[in-house]
């Protein structure tokens, strides 16, 4: 059974097995440094559909099917699907999973959704409420642009602090049996608001939340940066990463050696003109394929995976509300 550790963490004594991981991604991601780790590269961001939103639905379906396939499970063996995305009312996830006819929890944690899914999925498995749980998250550059900024064909320049929403979806099957890498603990983030209102600088809005949850994690588990081979943040980008490192340095922790940011790994920002890096739910969800593979091969033994989210909607930003940050930590170990 899960053990409450400190104020904000849970520890899973037996660990929750990550049976399989899948990723499906669009054109730009297929040209990026992680292409060899992505299961399915789609060379058409419309995925044969008429709209970006429907395309994202296809990405969701494909990611879920692929994860089940890789776990050698029929979808009927999945007890719950936990999924979320960036579209209004998480439409991509709802339409994406409807045909699977499995019990479904829709999640919203902005770009931290995959971390939220893995956290809740681990709790479901550990508490004996399910044998296999599917966690999934997706985003689509053009759908996000049309919703949060401008229509994609508008010819404008993006600020240096802005990030590029990742097109695609990532999924993972959590299971109560198996000998794959395991989730051994989670630290759940609080909403942190430091008054950032610039929607083109989300890294700055999320960095304090990442710093806060990481400090709590270190406290709860009596851990230090050196306890981990890597600490992966979700989509802080180059600006947010700099801020996170600085905020933690002020608190006496140096994470520079262990820290990597999925948003900075998924694109080559010099060649791909992505400025501060990648973002979106799919950013950490797709990069997780690479992390998982390196856990399997033994390159990493113990890591922290901490997707970051900027909580807001177009109205809240237009009305001058600040952008809230959140971040959830999932601790993963190769062997328990």
């Amino acid at each position: 059974m899960a053990l409450k550790v400190g104020l904000t963490s849970l520890k899973f004594e037996n660990g929750v097995n990550i049976k399989s991981v899948s990723s499906v991604a669009g054109t730009k991601e297929g040209e990026g440094p992680l292409k060899e780790y992505i299961d399915i590269l789609v060379n058409d961001n419309l995925y044969g559909q008429k709209t970006w939103e429907k395309a994202e639905t296809e990405f969701v379906k494909k990611a879920v099917e692929t994860a089940a396939q890789k776990a050698a499970l029929s979808l009927n063996n999945i007890d719950y699907i936990l999924a979320g995305d960036l579209q209004n009312q998480s439409a991509a996830s709802c339409f994406g999973v409807k045909d699977f006819k499995r019990p479904f929890f829709g999640l919203f944690g902005a770009c931290s959704t995959f971390g939220e899914g893995l956290s809740l999925g681990a709790v479901l498995i550990d508490s004996g409420c399910g044998k296999n749980v599917m966690c999934e998250a997706s985003s689509h550059f053009s759908a996000a642009e049309a919703q949060f900024r401008f229509p994609p064909e508008l010819g404008n320049q993006r600020p240096q602090t802005s990030t590029w929403t990742v097109t695609g979806a990532g999924a993972a099957v959590l299971s109560d049996e198996g000998s794959e890498p395991k989730i051994t603990g989670i630290t759940t983030g609080k909403i942190v608001d430091l008054g950032i209102t610039d929607a083109n600088n989300m890294g700055a809005a999320m960095a304090p939340a990442a710093a806060d949850v990481l400090l709590n994690h270190f406290k709860d588990f009596s851990a230090a940066p050196e306890s981990y081979d890597r600490i992966f943040t979700g989509d802080l980008g180059s600006v947010g990463s700099k801020l996170l490192i600085e905020l933690l340095r002020e608190k006496g922790y140096d994470i520079q050696k262990q820290h990597r940011d999925c948003g900075m790994l998924i694109y080559d920002s010099d060649k791909q003109d992505t400025h501060a890096g990648g973002s979106g739910c799919a950013c950490s969800a797709i990069t997780f394929s690479m992390i998982y593979k390196r856990l399997l091969t033994g390159e990493y033994n113990k890591i922290l995976f901490m997707p970051t989210g900027a909580l807001m909607n177009p109205s809240s930003v237009a009305q001058g509300e600040s952008i809230l940050g959140i971040c959830h930590i999932v601790m993963i170990e190769r062997q328990v």
Binding site: P151, E153, G155, N156, Q157, P159, Q160, V239
Partner: protein
Amino acid sequence: MAKREIVKSDKDYDKLVKEASPNSPIVKNCIKAFIGGGIICCIGQFLMNVLSSYGLVTEERNMAVSVILIGIASLLTGLGWYSKIGRFAGAGSVVPITGFSNSVTAPAIEFKKEGFVMGLGAKIFTVAGPVILYGTLTSIFVGIVYYFVR
């Protein structure tokens, strides 16, 4: 409160953010805007000269040039090229009339998917709307001032 544990105040954090955030390369962008905008204007001038040689009077000619530039920019937007030009030229391709054309065509393409009435019809001016509204208001204001001050 969680935030006080991280930094002393929002102001302190603002300072940190400013230091960490790279500025846009203004000089480089200005040069690119000059080149991009310059080329668009040269095309406009070229069209003017050609149309003049066909005997169009000034007013007709100016209108014809605008219409042609708007048409070309709209077509390039549909082909997905204008956003690439915009990424290079920035203000250079936003300020001329071609930028206005792009700002109307881009939402039209995007929101056509939501129907011709509530999609395209309602959202076609989401980007250009403020320019049209405040442009019209300003011209009325200037007109009134001109009437009295002339």
